[in-house]
Amino acid sequence: MSLLEVKNLEVRFAMRKQELVALREVSFSLEKGERLGIVGESGAGKSVAAFSILNLISKPGYISAGEIIFEKRDLTRLSQVEMSKIRGNRISMIFQDPMMTLNPVLTIGTQMTETLHAHQTISKEEAKQRAIESLAQVHIPSPATRFDQYPHELSGGMRQRVVIAIALITRPPLIIADEPTTALDVTIQAEIMDLLMVLCQSSGVGLILITHDLGVISQMTERAIVMYAGRIMEEGDTTEIITNACHPYTHGLIGALPQRTAPGQRLNQIEGVMPALASIPEGCAFNPRCPLVSDVCRTTRPGYTSIGSTRVACHNFDAGNS
């Protein structure tokens, strides 16, 4: 039994003039303790996917179809009250900007124990003890002092450590991290990623890591999903996807990295831009930018084909076509 199973998820935004489809036919599953990466450019729908797991899509957006099975329950059918027992308790989320996530007028300690008190019956002293332990776990020096400090007294890297500590404090089986290191410097990013990985491995926490950085995905995750214009283009083993990408978009994305071309040479660019949700082309969403486009791509949306461990949505891989 998978920890999380997302089946045919569809998210729509009801705008005044039309309904926009932000996610279409999104299906994936996550085993206990597995690390899954979701990669894509801005507007690909990766954050919408993460938010919909926690039922955080706000109006005018709504989940229009599909199921999200987590611990044998369909999260799309839960009430807000039931959902709030899961958020921060069974599934934690780490956001991009630690300055925005932490409340600037509450001490670190208040924010940490708040989470514990919300989900568990626990005494004040015990909660404080757990919070300090949790801070020590993410390698924050002198955690007892930090407990009484405010977010502005900490550097960006330290703040993100606090956010990770809060996410882990209830010992959830699943953490969703949405671009957790994008706001940080490279040397700090390396530390935070390392920490997140070690903590996930040692306590068997499942991780969904959302990022636009293919380097991070390849170092952190076992499986990866490539999204484009609200749809999964390719899903499979991370190393397999990085070394043997099937979908032309994945190919283009990896090929566009500067390290894939000899210094000084022109980079392999993908022409054009990702379409806006209101103007997703018919057929395959990637067809106007695709170097391997054929007539069928312009008319029919491709289904999923399995090639080894990889699942790909591309007409070039339709049966007997590869």
């Binding site: 410097d185 490279v186 700090i188 991070v216 170092q219 990295l257 022109r266 831009v273």
Partner: protein
């Protein structure tokens, strides 16, 4: 490199005062009234030369002073100390009127194309303004030709020139700001993180455009970035900055093959690479200190794994070894 450098930066310092008014500076300590002044030391003693035709990349983490360096070079903010010369003429202390001919030769591309284009001006107006300002003699038709040719060269359809910036995507906007910089036919371009606000597939497009322009127009670039993968691809020389000082300055290939300074080594090892385990990066101790209260000696000593007593005391000088300049006691003493 026997030719005189195009641009030199000599012993540059830039401090931003953060103390308030006279009254706020006063403080009682030990029964005496003391006047306390604080400042952010954004740049402390940078020496740099940019030669004609090269692309010098400046890398470093946020707060290391790389953007301040770009702004001081462009004359957007005056330095606190030191000088900037362009073709052997000092440009940091001259009057705005005398600076104008240099403004035509030196142009800047900014990081955020959402903020650097005027939302109330059409693309045509944005591009016409610098052309008319710097070439007052041009006729209307000549200006039109110029605008059309420059928009075409950056891959923006000239028929869109009556549109406003909000009608364009981020990548297109950055193309327009590159067009604006190229419109006056500059020879030197300072690009401050020109691609960090863009998506991966768009980054490649803009980087290609900048490399094409470099070839066609024989441009010299000073390229400010935090992205080392881009540096390896784009730069001919790299300057690594940390807390307002230069750590290492070397030809790109050499820097990436054999980084010398401990900070450069840590920085290079921290880039997430495809198909590589994350565990083998060099772990630095602690955090970047605040530029208000710079550490004594080498600014990196608190995080450096090679630091000894001398590093905490004495500021290392930038010394030349073959074609690499390094400011590190450990390298000088042969400890690494």
């Amino acid at each position: 490199m026997t030719q005189a450098p195009l641009l030199t930066v000599h012993n540059l310092y830039k401090e931003f005062p953060i103390h308030g008014s006279m009254l706020e500076q006063l403080e009682f300590r030990g029964g005496r009234l003391i006047r306390k002044r604080e400042s952010v030391k954004a740049i402390s003693g940078v020496d740099l030369e940019v030669h004609k035709g090269e692309s010098l990349c400046v890398v470093g983490e946020s707060g290391c002073g790389k953007s301040t360096l770009a702004r001081v070079i462009m004359g957007l903010i005056p330095p606190s100390q030191g000088k900037v010369t362009y073709e052997q003429h000092r440009i940091d202390n001259i009057k705005l009127g005398n600076l104008l001919p240099y403004r035509k030769k030196m142009q800047m591309i900014f990081q955020n194309p959402y903020a650097s284009l005027n939302p109330r001006m059409t693309v045509r107006q944005t591009l016409e303004e610098p052309i008319r300002f710097h070439n007052p003699g041009l006729s209307g038709a000549e200006v039109n030709d110029k605008v059309a040719s420059v928009t075409q060269s950056v891959g923006v359809d000239p028929t869109w020139s009556h549109r406003y910036p909000h009608e364009f995507s981020g990548g297109q906007r950055q193309r327009i700001s590159i067009a604006r910089a190229l419109a006056v036919d500059p020879e030197f371009i300072v690009a401050d993180e020109p691609i960090s606000a863009l998506d991966v597939s768009i980054q490649a497009q803009v980087l290609n455009l900048m490399m094409d322009a470099r070839e066609q127009r024989a441009l010299t670039y000073l390229f400010i970035t935090h992205d080392l993968a881009v540096v390896e691809h784009f730069g001919s020389r790299v300057a690594v900055m940390y807390l307002g000082t230069l750590c290492e300055l070397a030809p790109t290939r050499k820097l990436f093959a054999t980084p010398q300074h401990p900070y450069t080594q840590a920085l290079l090892s921290a880039i997430p690479k495809l198909n590589q385990d994350s565990s083998d990066y060099i772990k630095l101790r602690g955090e970047v200190p605040t530029p208000v209260d710079l550490p004594s000696g080498c600014v990196f000593h608190g995080r450096c794994l090679q630091a000894n007593e001398r590093c905490t005391r004495e500021v290392p000088e930038l010394k030349l070894y073959d074609d690499t300049s390094i400011a590190c006691h450990a390298v000088e003493e042969g400890r690494i």
